[in-house]
Symmetry: D3
Subunit: 318 residues, 6 copies
């Protein structure tokens, strides 16, 4: 069971309201790497976890992330505090309020729709979705996902710190950023406390394909590195000469029943395209300069374009 103390885990001191900054900070409230995503990732893992140690750790960190959701949400609430009552009480003239609404970022939606409260959206106003939570119910996957999530959250906090000069906000964001580093370390320890953590699952890979690097992108810029060269790798450069890799015909087949064969043939015949047809089409009926085969003369439609535009288009034909 959860309990709550009205004190924040970290004191929030904001210098002055700034709704545009608030809308950027929402990235860590209702964004994909924000604190709700973190809390829900660990909480859903914790509920299904069989190992007592990991379960405890996941619930510890989930609970702390909820407390961070409270800290970041409180910063947002402070930054919007002036805008909230200004819009509600409407003692300003309309034009001034209108200007303040368009101060930057997506703060306009925060004001009009959410009334200056912290909303569970990202900095573009996109509502949080559980599609961000990538829990799969297997600890060696989930711990790797957590490690990655913490590292993403850390970098987003760093970006926010880089654009803020309010010392109180910088201070609180520095705390939150650091906690992500600590959490990443816990998850790393937990992953490597599982003896056999790679590859995930019980099924080994197939030896024939597990060491293969397929060089599908070629041309200038083709390089080598430890990810495709060295003792652990065989590299395949001749892609088309080894198609398919299994030595079969590279086709997709299925065995249909007699009735299915008959239906499928009927459908194919009914919907067959005639490769010898020379049909008049809707585009031909449309009859503008682009119909049929387009020639340079058809460029006349550009007659009333500004000069700069004509030049740019002309350029592409040289």
């Amino acid at each position: 069971m959860f309990m709550h103390n009205k004190r924040l885990q970290y004191t929030v001191r904001v210098s002055e309201p700034n709704p545009a900054l608030a809308s950027l900070l929402l990235e860590q409230f209702g964004g994909p790497d924000g604190e709700l995503a973190a809390a829900m990732r660990y909480f859903t893992q914790g509920l299904g976890e069989a190992d007592p140690g990991r379960k405890d750790m996941l619930l510890d960190i989930a609970t702390e992330e909820l407390s961070h959701l409270e800290v970041i949400g409180s910063i947002v609430a402070m930054l919007n505090k002036g805008a909230k009552s200004a819009l509600t009480e409407a003692t300003m003239e309309e034009a001034d309020l209108y200007m303040s609404i368009n101060a930057g970022g997506n703060s306009h939606t925060q004001a009009i729709l959410y009334g200056g409260g912290p909303a569970l959206t990202n900095s573009s106003g996109v509502p949080w979705t559980a599609a961000y939570v990538d829990t799969r119910g297997d600890p060696v996957c989930d711990l790797r996902s957590n490690i990655a999530a913490e590292s993403r959250a850390k970098i987003v906090y760093e970006r926010l710190i880089n654009i803020t000069d309010d010392p109180g906000i910088k201070d609180a964001l520095g705390f939150l950023m650091t906690r992500e580093v600590a959490h990443q370390k816990s998850f790393e320890k937990a992953l490597y406390s599982i003896k056999d953590n790679f590859p995930p699952g019980k099924l080994p890979g197939l030896a024939a394909y597990a060491n293969l690097y397929v060089n599908t992108s070629q041309g200038e810029g083709d390089t080598t590195g430890p990810w495709n060269e060295g003792d652990q790798w065989e590299r395949l450069d001749d892609i088309e000469g080894n198609l398919p890799l299994d030595g079969g015909d590279g086709d997709a087949t299925v065995t249909l029943s007699k009735a299915e064969v008959k239906d499928y043939a009927a459908m194919a015949k009914r919907l067959a395209s005639d490769p010898k047809a020379t049909p008049v089409t809707g585009a031909d009926l449309g009859g503008g300069p682009g119909a049929g085969k387009l020639s340079d003369e058809d460029m006349g439609g550009a007659a009333d374009m500004p000069e700069a535009k004509k030049m740019a288009l002309a350029q592409t034909k040289a």
Copy 2:
């Protein structure tokens, strides 16, 4: 630029149509860990990558994942091949078609809406969303995300292999699963080829909070392990006694301008709740047995419930 050869990277041999199985396999076509997610994760990273070696690797693997999207999509198309023309040609009686539509999973939507073609949804019919792609434009984050994504994809393939006894499908899924293992290895190599990869970014954490483990979940089941104990950790057990961690007042504050203070006070007054009120409410007007204070006698509403239900409810009062 991309090019295409109509041969698949791996031959697909399906024994017989099975739309319900097809709908499960969609998890790796249009699901969160499916091949489109993989291809788009690496492709968007590759486009913005500054390092030539990583850029090459990301485009190699993105291109291969697109080829895997083609393999898994081809399996789905084969499994639906019978259903596709059956529904189109409608030579079966309606009741038989209706039965076949309800064969399992979410195959009903695959038939009715998508006409038996492979749709970019997961196994519940939820359309693929780029919200699954967690590219952040920083390689030490993105490589960790890729490692995690490959490990998730591996385990989902393993689960699908475990429920399929069609040898051709099992064979192709085994290939696809193994390639995820190989890709994870490449991403691991690339991550550790960056000298200073932890923590992500330029800003170090704050020493005061980077080694701290906050034991927020207590009670029976509290455990220790390398994630919260040992040389690298200081553990905090007395949460409320150390609230907030920074030694401040744990409150959230902001400095408002005079006009803002005035508006805020007016708003607060207008909307104040009276803690001494004893209001009649909508619920009181509602007047059912639950209005006011509920007593045991109010349970009479349960009079026409089946016995089992009454017993179960009764139990909770004991």
Copy 3:
């Protein structure tokens, strides 16, 4: 700050695993009226609330809803406990596992994608979205939204109780359902503790339109009741005779600048449709029986339809 005790707020005793039931219960875990939605609704309101009493109440109830999220998630985890390791360890034959995956509801996705852990989706596998949270930052709106949300949650729990005969689950659901009743009562009390709570906001309505009932749906079934008749209402039945209500021309107009007028006219001319045209269209080219004017003879395409289908179609022509 949040803290956690590993004991649940209510003991969960599940008789036996049942993944299909688990997938239905997800409605209250990651569905629109589920516990996450409740917790986040009250939590985001609490963060922005100016009134100390309401803030305290909102945080109390938000924290309890998080604890309910834990209870319902634990039931789901118990119901999936068998499926989780069965799929992972794969000691069953494939065909048996396949059957168990298709046990009902959307349990297939819970198994394949989420590995038997509780996922933040509804019973159709749709991921939870913050679009469910209708917090608007105004207490007389938000409290009404909360009252409505609690009443929805109550009824969904009742439906789940009605389909479950596992006494332990019924017991826990009964507890959760009852708490929604209690919470609704709290929100009702808080709403009516605000002196002037109707209509929301500072702006009164316009007297001319505030008492009007517009009878836009007419014909058989037109009725009266306290919602459109009595002292508080004037009813408008002659819709078209009073169009528009303001006595103007009922048109939408805007004053454009000269340059805008010129551009708009040019656009309108370029894209004008010729009302006197008799164009040959793509559909005319398409040339099936439906092209041009369809006659009864065109029904011939129905020649190979089953009898029942022909009859049904014929029926509609009689």
Copy 4:
């Protein structure tokens, strides 16, 4: 069946084009409390309603809300009328058009993607979703949801009125706002015309838990009010001492079959974490200053930070 008269229910007179304002008004066109949401909420309720009076009322109001969708959409179309043909005819220089596109709000997307027509998105460009519609098929829930929805729509209109000084727009918005007040009154009357409307459904709550207020958020700021004190309430302050509320062990359990027990144990063993391990982890390999235990000296990475930033970070260590 619906019919339409080309006159609007209320005349729309817009002074001059303003795409940025248009993008804000979209909140009531395709936003969560907008007119489409309202129309669809009442329409879906009306279709399934058993009571003739409520059905009539729901269809009346749904039809009027569709007419309001037309009014608000017409305002948006007028505000975008200049932008629409400017972008299409492109007689301005590019730089001027570019400037006009970035006029504020999310008007850029309205121009580029929607061509200046009214789009069913909110003011952040988020497409309308039926997830906003909270119809549950039970009238005492649905009427409460409608009351709440009308009160939210009223307040959003008020906010829009507060930021607009175009008298024609203000006029039309005032009409639309007032109609929400009238609709709320109708829904209130309909709710209280149902005799037993609280709590929703047939099942009463459990007496033991229906009058309980659980004080989960404690510490400074703990208050009382009619929502947690008085005749109707028993308050629980000692949370941990009453955990769980039912007097059980507060644990979650399920009875597994023998085979399930065996599989579960195998899984748990395979994936057990070793609490005594001292593993080297990926983070340790990463080797930056954050690896291992972070000390103050590791702050050297801050060497090339601007002064203000260094000071802010330093502050947190004091």
Copy 5:
């Protein structure tokens, strides 16, 4: 199988970074008519296509669209190249970085969340969704959808060309726009190579309703044109006099079993509204000036509104 050459299909020369323009161009990267949508539309069609000619064409064009995704993504990456490292290295003062983040469009999210890499969102930051892909598995539908999609993509490119004066970007966008024209022509040819392509499917329409134009929107502005007049049409103007069209009672009915009838009647009775009731409601309790019947005097609440606002409101009462 896909292969890749690191050369782009078209050279990208960008004059200077411009994150705000980059955010607009995302419309064609991750927007509804963007290149990913195009590639996935044709790719999913190609996988399920029975006709060899169409399958080849679909895979040709899908592959080229992936190459266009690379071109547009590369433009975005170039436009963000300066912002990317500025935010990462943070050698600018915070206030300057903050200003650059708010340069326009939704570039703020591109910077903070996506780190300056191209993200699969539209110009409002809405993540790409496979809901944009309208493949239905029937070629005469899908080809029409493709024709429409190409024409939408063409117009969006034209709008982007109209607002850009960077010659290299204009050049590349001109190429991409032209390819949409060519693709539309291919799809037109393919559609009209199917002999019987209208209406789609096997079932003809019902003659009684296939030629009918129902004039549901009447009043001033009612017009005629080839879409509702001429040889191919019968027009119905007297809507209510022909309700329903089938000559039945226009009602919806179903035959219930006895048990169902009993339950339904019980439910209806329990939830019946009393049309003769004169209930006191929550709104009446609310007691503000809007409660009961609103009179002009109630407008007093407007007392502290600015003059302009009062006038505008007053106007509506005249």
Copy 6:
């Protein structure tokens, strides 16, 4: 303004309740090609349309589609009528209700969450989204989109007719399907009444690329047809020999300022990968059989797999 008559446009006679069929029919209520999508597509176009003829047509058809939404919604309501009160009144035993909930499709969510009312979701329970509406504010695009949308709606109705043997439902669906055919014809007429409708917009394509067919998918199955051969086409087969098409270097470049160059170089250096490194990675630490180079012996992990599974895996190695 909209008005409503309680008679349906077409009488609905349903033989008996069938919630599973109802859930399939939702495809045309709240699915991507359903009646809400149609109504909203035409309605949003109509509001912004400059041409009086097209505006009238769009409002006519939008209004009729709303009436069809009512028809299909009424069918769904009838099919769910028994389930609705069964779940509400709960006079059946739980196990029987549970069975009825799992009758097929996604009817379980319709019952539990939506209470048997028609919900604006598709047949998989995915809520309707305005992302389905592809209105772009240009009539030659929008009319093509409408033509495509009508053809998709027609085919989905045909599929539903094919699986239903209830004559009343078949009858109503036949009517609805036929109206889509009629609407498609209207939109075709309107498109070809615009003189110059191809390509859309004012800008012609570039002659050099407008007639080009790029044969990007090669190998077995390469075919020709009117879409890539004939007078209107030049075909390009040698893709890599003509890379890029513009004769440039095929690279993406941008000119950075000095400060940007410096930052970018610093970032690149800090994050450079060392191509000569031979790092130990997290995967190497993981230490299972998949670590390092996988050999055939590592297949030992398969020891406890069922025989069928072992054989299938073995097969892939032959």
